[in-house]
Symmetry: C2
Subunit: 331 residues, 2 copies
């Protein structure tokens, strides 16, 4: 947040999201913000080519969630899904470790076909969102290929090999994002980061290392976020020492970082203006305050739609307060 003196209250909200956890908050935000107010940027470093198809797991999770088509039991993919193609694939000796549902396959077929025809991932995403009735703006972090590589004792793995095929079993030693130095951040996103209309940048409760870092490490992004007048607020994906979803806590332990909300706040460092932590971590509030961050303690575990809306409302209110304080010179 750049403490400039912007009197007119900006109206636009930017959310950075990985998959499931991020998508939950993105849905909450979409329920309380008009379509023109909310832009969600999703990580694409999890994307991969599988069975000849270009698959964008985080984009699809957010898209399906916003369209209310997501599979709430599995936590990924589409609701009311069937698995005939995977069953037949198994009979043909094809790869089935990444489960693609029959209905989900249509998404990947359309995306792959449009990409092969020269469309950008942004354009394909806009098209798919339109067809599925998603009104808020969803953007890939970049139209260029960026691919998370997971360093483990047994060698390097592509992210989905680590995450799905190996079920996050290998201990991680680090990550890098192949292609990131030459990738361009999605232009609409960069414009929004530089816009005076931006009122908040929300880092959703997604994995800091493999969901959020690829977005932050894209050229120009971190600098644009710091230069923005809008407060940057992260919602902790770690609650009471555990990741609500996914391997974030396991990774932190393996990377010799304490699996705590405090460590997440410290990891994002001076990029943040505010940090939202769960009520069960209230005892950490003082030490996070001491990192120089404004903090807000609320329930962050989103089981119901109301939970998502309540958290979105709390985060937006926190952002509003930080923005007002900033104009008043309190930070």
């Amino acid at each position: 947040m750049n403490k400039s003196n912007n009197i007119d209250k900006p109206k636009k909200i930017l959310a950075l999201s990985g998959g499931v956890g991020g998508a939950k908050l993105a849905l909450g935000l979409a329920k309380v913000l008009a379509p023109e107010q909310l832009t969600i940027v999703a990580n694409t470093a999890d994307d991969f080519t599988h069975l000849g198809l270009t698959i964008s797991p985080d984009l699809d999770t957010v898209m399906y969630t916003l369209a209310d088509l997501n599979n709430k039991e599995l936590g990924w993919g589409l609701a009311n899904e069937s698995w005939q193609a995977m069953d037949a694939m198994s009979a043909l000796g094809g790869d089935t470790w990444f489960r693609l549902g029959d209905r989900d396959l249509a998404t990947h077929l359309v995306r792959s076909q449009q990409l092969a025809a020269g469309e950008s991932l942004s354009s394909v995403t806009t098209y798919l969102c339109h067809r599925l009735g998603v009104k808020h703006t969803l953007l890939p972090m970049t139209d260029d290929p960026v691919r998370t590589r997971v360093k483990t004792a047994g060698g390097e793995l592509a992210f989905q090999e680590y995450f799905v095929r190996e079920q996050c079993r290998p201990a991680v030693q680090g990550f890098y994002f192949a292609g990131i130095d030459s990738a361009q951040p999605q232009p609409q996103w960069l414009d929004l980061l530089q816009s005076e209309d931006l009122a908040a940048i929300i880092i959703c409760p997604s994995n800091p290392f493999v969901s959020v870092d690829p977005m932050l490490q894209l050229p120009q992004v971190r600098a644009a976020m710091k230069a923005s007048a809008a407060p940057v607020i992260a919602v902790s994906p770690i609650v009471a020492g555990l990741a609500i979803k996914g391997p974030a806590a396991k990774m932190m332990t393996e990377l010799a970082i304490p699996a705590t909300a405090t460590a997440v706040a410290a990891y994002y460092g001076d990029l943040l203006d505010g940090f939202v932590l769960d009520q069960s971590d209230q005892s950490l509030q003082t030490e996070i305050d001491q990192l120089g961050l404004a903090t807000k303690v609320v329930p962050t575990i989103m089981k119901t739609l109301d939970d998502r809306i309540d958290l979105a409302t709390a985060v937006l209110s926190f952002a509003d307060q930080l923005f007002t304080d900033s104009i008043a010179g309190k930070h």
Copy 2:
């Protein structure tokens, strides 16, 4: 048939097949011949790229039929098929005129992936047949792309656009097979055509213009068939002026060719040694004889598995007789 003096009786049978009709006789042949005796070559000029997938309709129809996985109600595709991907594709505004079942999609995904990895269509076909338990040899006519183009009053159409999307409605003015002049016939097929072990070349009851002609027009094929000591026998796809399946009769009318078994025999011309016509066309036997062909009249309509086996047995017996006559110098 080259009337050479081959005393040892050859043992191998070659069948040339298009889709459904050809596959029925191929199945009959497979039921009475050992795997090492029968090679089926399928037309690939119907192949096309759709939704980014490489689809080989005739190869798949023969493969699914030999594996007893074919959909007997639809006449194409797999039995016990579901259509979730196409349903979702429709919601996404994708092309659905060519119906790809969920289980069938796995075949196209595996094929497309293996082709993209540099495998030949022959190699992919062998792999898929192995996985599906097909024991007899099935070969694509070529590993090179050959594509049937349909000339109509309204312009040229790709074959599947004509056949599936337009449901054969446009009147045809002719056909050509893009790529055929530079395509190599599948090497194993060419070897078999030149082998002294070959005992019969059977042109299955498939469409002469769009299923059989692409195979015959490949470089070297027609000459090799004529040079072979094995008799070349066609089974009429036209019965009582009608095509049992598909647009053959309609095409003949549009091309100003009488829709008769006689016209089919004449169309294949001096390539044939023998011609098998349906009992309902017995009245045409004399005029077909007068074309200089040996003829055999049998029931050719294959409704049951026994029908397929009976026709296969009759064709093989006819071939055996022609071969013996040839050695005895009767033809």
